[in-house]
Amino acid sequence: MHPAGLAAAGTPRQRKWPSKRRVPVSQPGMADPHQLFDDTSSAQSRGYGAQRAPGGLGYPTASASPQSAFLGDPVSNMAMAYGSSLAAQGKELVDKNIDRFIPVTKLKYYFAVDTMYVGKKLGLLFFPYLHQDWEVQYQQDTPVAPRFDVNAPDLYIPAMAFITYVLVAGLALGTQDRFSPDLLGLQASSALAWLTLEVLAILLSLYLVTVNTDLTTIDLVAFLGYKYVGMIGGVLMGLLFGKVVYYLVLGWCCVSIFVFMIRTLRLKILAEAAAEGIPVRGARNQLRMYLTMAVAAAQPLLMYWLTFHLVR
């Protein structure tokens, strides 16, 4: 079978070339490799043609436009045409394969925020005590975009807070005369490493406790990234007003994040128990409760650990 001879990246390209050429007969079977054995000769030669001479096939179509260009030199014409066809193919390849490694469409959901959402969410992060309803609203089985529901997790605030944390750490180190540019990279890398470690530890414990939850990895990253907001607040207040204020503000933010995480994770991890509203007794629920408490308790610890060396 010819697909065995081609690389995996070549197979989607091979599917695309025949669909461009065969305009009249639209065969849905062209996308199915099992049906390609009916047409091996034409598809194979076209497939090999598409792979072996990409510049050659792209060159005749692309050279039509630069011929009217001001560069009359045929060598530079050819070079420009080849370069543009290579760039187009590279872009095509990246676009096809990027979805395998980074789920771009899923990420777009997490950045669908607006100013009001950010304002309300920041208020919630600093003062979660009066908020009553923590459920995420659903719209036909998919969660509503963060723009419309303040309970939905987003990645905008954690990303911005992380970057701001790195900058504020640089600022704090500068006030102590300990700054050098590579320390910024070190701070960023260190915070990222702690975040990765946290995510891996929580994923491992979720697997061990066999929780059937709809908490995806990106959701988890979003929730764990909310603590950077409190950290920034604490460090800035500490820089402005001194160490006592730093401890006070950090303590307040720690308690807030603790309550926030418990109330949010309770709905995700302890789904059945929270739906009834009463604490159900049982080994499984107890284990899940411990897990939620452990995750929530790790947040203040990390908030302190990552900031105490910045305010002296």
Binding site: S189, S190, A193, T210
Partner: protein, 82 residues
């Protein structure tokens, strides 16, 4: 506080190596964590011990060949760059 991503990678590699060297017959069977000793529990939810045993078994099976490659790369890099 030089906890970088690189040290996380090193720690991960060492942990996976540690899981891979657990000997099936000499060690895991003796502490009751062998692969044939835990598959009986199909009636309810698995429980932590059988999840752990499953995890160890799957890590050992999946990571056997990639670990050879990654370990060789790590050895060569450490020899060259210290």
């Amino acid at each position: 506080m030089a906890f970088t991503l690189y040290s996380l990678l090193q720690a991960a590699l060492l942990c996976v190596n540690a899981i891979a060297v657990l000997h099936e017959e000499r060690f895991l069977k003796n502490i009751g964590w062998g692969t044939d000793q835990g598959i009986g529990g199909f009636e309810e939810e698995p429980g932590i011990k059988s999840q752990l045993m499953n995890l160890i078994r799957s890590v050992r099976t999946v990571m056997r060949v990639p670990l050879i490659i990654v370990n060789s790369i790590a050895i060569i890099l450490l020899l060259l760059f210290g």
